[in-house]
């Protein structure tokens, strides 16, 4: 596969066993716009339905049609859902990339390919299965458009046969995909069957890869992180959404719109208990959110890097005017425009300190679709509790790919609307001082227009405790100190890390977000291949909670694993750690635009360990 980083040569090709069951990666190389998504999702879903843990990763180009695209499905009995660099089973449909795709396969891999591509002679250490797609599709329909469309379904049929994927599961998956479109289902099933039949008749099994039923996915769902986050927002009772389309974040708001339409219209009047506004740009999107949040609505936006940059000024206003706002950053790779369809964790440091003039912001760091759901709810609660913009740092890999999960639990905690002044509080406090630290936690009481409580004048400018304009040095410093105190309160409120202290381990790993899945796998590799035990802390929020420092203290060396060039979380840690802790910190960075894989972590860590 031409755009990915090539599998490391250090991974010594072992002589493959005869049967490799539920532990390999399939990659389908097509051209985007050619309608392969249905075929790929059916493949993914049918394996999932067979009870085999599975993950799917879409590597698509930044255009709409005509460029190479790759879809990787990984079946893993052990439940690994991170990226696996080595492709075991290639479906080569794209003439442009087929050659390079084949050349980068590890020995022993299998290749289903479009016969005219003549890939057979490229290598002798692979298994080749030529399939005459055009010929087969000719037998299915005469409509040229439909032919292009169902052509992809044929490879599903071929794979069903070669990998022993249950054809009934495929049909069920197809029905799930296409809904009630019987004609479409019939047509696609025809193609699937044709592929199956062709394989049965012409392609004797020569490779070791097979899918066998398990029961590891019972009751689970398959969902994309952006949809999960949207459901979280829905359940958080979001009432205002201001957004501007940008890959890979658009699908968050677009799913949310669908859910809101369905579940948030007043049953009697049909009217909406929410508003979604497609703004003219990201500055306006956050401006609207700030306006709505100031007014007391639960308000959010969703964006990616370029939008984050544009939101810098308003984020600072939100910080200083103390207005709640929830900002999802579905991180993508590089600058404006960068690689908008590639993943990364490259906005961590800029988001943490976004804006000018001494600002810092809480961040939530979901690793899983389940956390996209729960942290969406956490974010609204935190934003209102802390009266400040809160960032949820997801990424393209998490947001736009399908992941397995247990069904999400219905929230048990009521909405936390934070410190809102009411008559009782006013009576207790005697006086309303918008920016006074009454409780010692840096969080003042607020009122909103229309709630009957006293008004105040909101401004980014310097102000005293009574929200009056002030340029006094003491007022300014007091306010800054209180805001710093509030950030310390945030430290006690953001989600705590997940810590796995392995007894006897001297090495620790710190990771966050989607890097988690590679780390999980790498730890197993280190244990099984090197006998190396590791402890692990997965960050779930920023500012750092005491557990983080404890963890570092307990380890001899700590590897901070992340998907950016500059070691951004590593830098944030370095900013806060004691020298003894800094001494222990190492940075493992990955910045190629593709999801991090376990092997890269293992290799990098071992290299460092040898050096240290």
């Amino acid at each position: 596969m031409s755009v990915t980083d090539v599998a490391e040569q250090e991974v010594v090709p072992q002589s493959r066993p005869e049967r490799i069951v539920n532990d390999f990666a399939i990659q389908v190389a097509t051209v985007n716009g050619s309608g392969s998504q249905t075929a790929n999702l059916v493949l993914l879903r049918s394996i999932f339905q067979m009870g085999v843990p599975v993950s799917g990763k879409n590597m698509f180009p930044s255009n709409i049609a005509g460029l190479p695209t790759w879809y990787t499905i990984r079946a893993s009995a052990k439940g690994y859902v991170g990226r696996k660099k080595e492709v075991d089973f290639l479906v080569a449909m794209n003439p442009e990339t087929a050659k390079e795709d084949v050349l980068t396969l590890p020995p022993g891999a299998a290749v289903v390919y479009d016969e005219p591509l003549k890939l057979k002679d490229l290598r002798t250490d692979l298994v080749f299965y030529p399939v005459p797609f055009d010929k087969i599709v000719g037998g299915i329909t005469h409509d040229a458009k439909l032919r292009r469309l169902v052509r992809n379904m044929i490879y599903d049929g071929v794979l069903s046969r070669l990998l022993s994927i249950d054809r009934e599961q495929m049909e069920q998956a197809l029905r799930k995909q296409l809904g009630k479109k019987e004609k479409a289902i019939a047509l696609n099933m025809g193609a699937l069957t044709a592929g199956y039949d062709y394989a049965e008749a012409n392609l004797p099994k020569q490779d070791p890869f097979v899918i066998e039923p398990m029961n590891k996915t019972q009751g689970m769902i398959l969902i994309e992180g952006n949809a999960a986050a949207a459901i979280g927002c829905l359940m958080a009772g979001v009432t205002f959404v201001g957004w501007y389309p940008i890959t890979p974040s658009s699908s968050l708001c677009e799913s949310l719109i669908d859910y809101l339409k369905k579940y948030r219209r007043d049953p009697e009047t049909g009217k909406s208990t929410y508003a979604v506004i497609q703004a003219e740009d990201e500055i306006a999107a956050l401006g609207m959110v700030i306006g709505a949040g100031w007014m007391g609505a639960r308000a959010m936006t969703s964006t990616a890097g370029p939008g984050l940059s544009l939101m810098a000024e308003f984020t600072g206003l939100g910080y200083y005017a103390e207005v709640p706002a929830v900002i999802f950053d579905i991180q993508r790779c590089g600058p404006s425009t960068g690689l908008p369809t590639r993943t990364g964790q490259q906005d961590i440091l800029p988001a943490a300190v976004l804006s000018h003039g001494d600002t810092k912001h809480p961040m939530l760091l979901p690793s899983s679709v389940a956390e996209c759901y729960t942290m969406a709810m956490d974010a609204f609660d935190l934003a209102e509790r802390l009266q400040t913009p809160v960032f949820v740092m997801s990424d393209l890999d998490l947001g736009m790919n399908a992941w397995m999960a247990q069904p999400f639990a219905y929230p048990t905690r009521p909405l936390d609307r934070g410190k809102r002044l009411d008559a009782a509080a006013l009576a207790r406090l005697g006086e309303f001082a918008r920016y006074r630290d009454v409780d010692g936690d840096g969080i003042p009481y607020r009122t909103v227009p229309g709630d009957g409580m006293p008004a105040y004048f909101t401004r980014g400018s310097g102000h005293n405790e009574l929200a009056q304009y002030s340029e006094r040095a003491d007022d300014y410093a007091n306010n800054l100190d209180r805001l710093a105190r509030k950030f310390e309160t945030a430290r006690t409120l953001v989600p705590r890390p997940e810590v796995d202290l392995e007894s006897g381990a001297t090495i620790g790993l710190i990771g966050y977000g989607t890097s988690h899945w590679a780390i999980v796998e790498s730890r197993d590799q280190l244990r099984s291949e090197q006998g190396l035990k590791t402890s692990y802390l997965r960050l779930r929020g920023y500012p750092f909670t005491p557990e983080v420092m404890d963890f570092i203290d307990r380890c001899d060396r700590v590897y901070v694993v992340e998907q950016n060039r500059d070691g951004q979380m590593f830098s944030l840690l370095r900013m806060e750690c004691t020298p003894a802790q800094v001494e222990k910190l190492r940075s493992v960075r990955h910045y190629v635009g593709l999801p991090l894989d376990g092997r890269s972590v293992t290799t990098e860590l071992l290299k460092e360990e040898q050096g240290s």
Binding site: A285, I290, Y410
Partner: protein
């Protein structure tokens, strides 16, 4: 505390029809220059709200950044106010109004705030026809940053430093009409009668009411070609050599009959031609409104009055199909769907 509560009305005292005295409509003490047109506009907003019997606590006051954008601090002390960031008040207002449809939103901006950095948000606000009053306090310059040209500066006008403005002005009224605002007016800070009347109409209108109010900057705005321009005075009255000196002026008042053109001499000696729309002018036709603006502009005049109005145009809240209650105040039970909904959603992913 920053928000004094209006004292209970004393019998016999002057009150409006909701029983409030004029003082209930006042705000903090102005920090603008004496004689600044913006102060006169503040006074008219106070008058208009008092006379209409607007409930002050139902109002939200929003602005960007600039001398003009400070104005919301100087009226309706018991209303919430938001002095946001430069040029981006329209988006803040959009979020705020949508979040609570029961509020009356008064936005105050400057010609730099709206015409330069904020023109993009202005365009989209007009297009959305968001129900609010949007006032541009238009002095053709950046007051707060000491007098640079704004995009409404007239062709050929000069800065104190002698820089000449080469670019044609943007006509915010023509733009607003072109873009879909449903109430568009122009007035002059020194014409209290007309301005108050327009403000009252604007507050009463449902949809975006855009009012461009010519509001001289007595300190920096300065037209060349007049023997009484600030520049001219400076040259001939040498003691005015101190750049930090701000002359003190009385506010200008004019009042003239509809259908006539009045020349107003500004503090700096330059003349402003105001054409008051005739009483039989029909402001409901877009084309004639635009023609009027262009024709008067060509003659170097400003047409003042309500230039265009489309009383029945759907506003943005209608388009959004919102519930009647403010979104901000919906009960948790109305915004968090029940378990059945989540179950149904989960089922779709199985």
């Amino acid at each position: 505390m920053s928000t004094p509560v209006a004292p209970p009305p004393v019998p016999g005292k002057k009150v409006n029809h909701i029983g409030l005295e004029p003082v209930a409509y006042r705000g903090g003490k102005t920090t603008l220059c004496a004689g600044c047109g913006h102060n006169a506009i503040t006074e008219r907003i106070i008058d208009a709200c008092y006379e209409l019997g607007v409930e002050p606590t139902q109002v939200i006051k929003l602005s960007g950044i600039g001398c003009s954008s400070k104005a919301p601090a100087y009226f309706l002390a018991s209303a919430h106010g938001f002095n946001s960031v430069h040029g981006r008040m329209p988006s803040v207002a959009t979020g705020a109004v949508v979040a609570n449809r029961k509020t009356i939103a008064i936005g105050v901006s400057g010609d730099g705030d709206t015409g330069a950095i904020g023109i993009g948000q202005f365009v989209h606000l007009m297009r959305r026809n968001l129900p609010m009053v949007y006032i541009i306090e238009d002095n053709g310059c950046y007051g707060l940053t000491k007098g640079q040209f704004s995009p409404t500066a007239d062709l050929g006008s000069t800065l104190k430093t002698g820089v000449v403005n080469d670019l044609p002005p943007i006509d915010t009224c023509a733009l607003a009409i072109e873009l879909g605002a449903s109430f568009v007016a122009r007035s002059f800070s020194g014409d209290p009668k007309q301005l108050k009347a327009i403000l009252k109409a604007a507050i009463s209108h449902r949809g975006t009411s855009m009012i461009d109010v010519i509001s001289p900057c007595v300190t920096f705005n300065d037209h060349d070609g007049s023997t009484k321009s600030y520049a001219y005075v400076k040259d001939h009255d040498e003691p005015l050599g101190d750049i930090s000196f701000v002359p003190y002026f009385e506010e200008i008042d004019v009042d003239f009959d509809p259908g006539t053109t009045t020349a107003v001499t500004l503090h700096n000696g330059s003349r402003l031609l105001l054409t008051k729309l005739a009483e039989d002018y029909q402001p409901t036709d877009k084309q004639s409104a635009l023609r009027l603006l262009h024709e008067t502009a060509v003659r170097g005049e400003y047409a003042t009055g309500i230039i265009y109005v489309e009383p029945d145009k759907q506003d943005f809240l209608d388009l959004l199909g919102l519930v009647d209650e403010p979104l901000a105040f919906l009960e948790p039970s109305r915004v968090r769907p029940g378990k059945a909904a989540l179950d149904e959603i989960m089922e779709s992913f199985r």
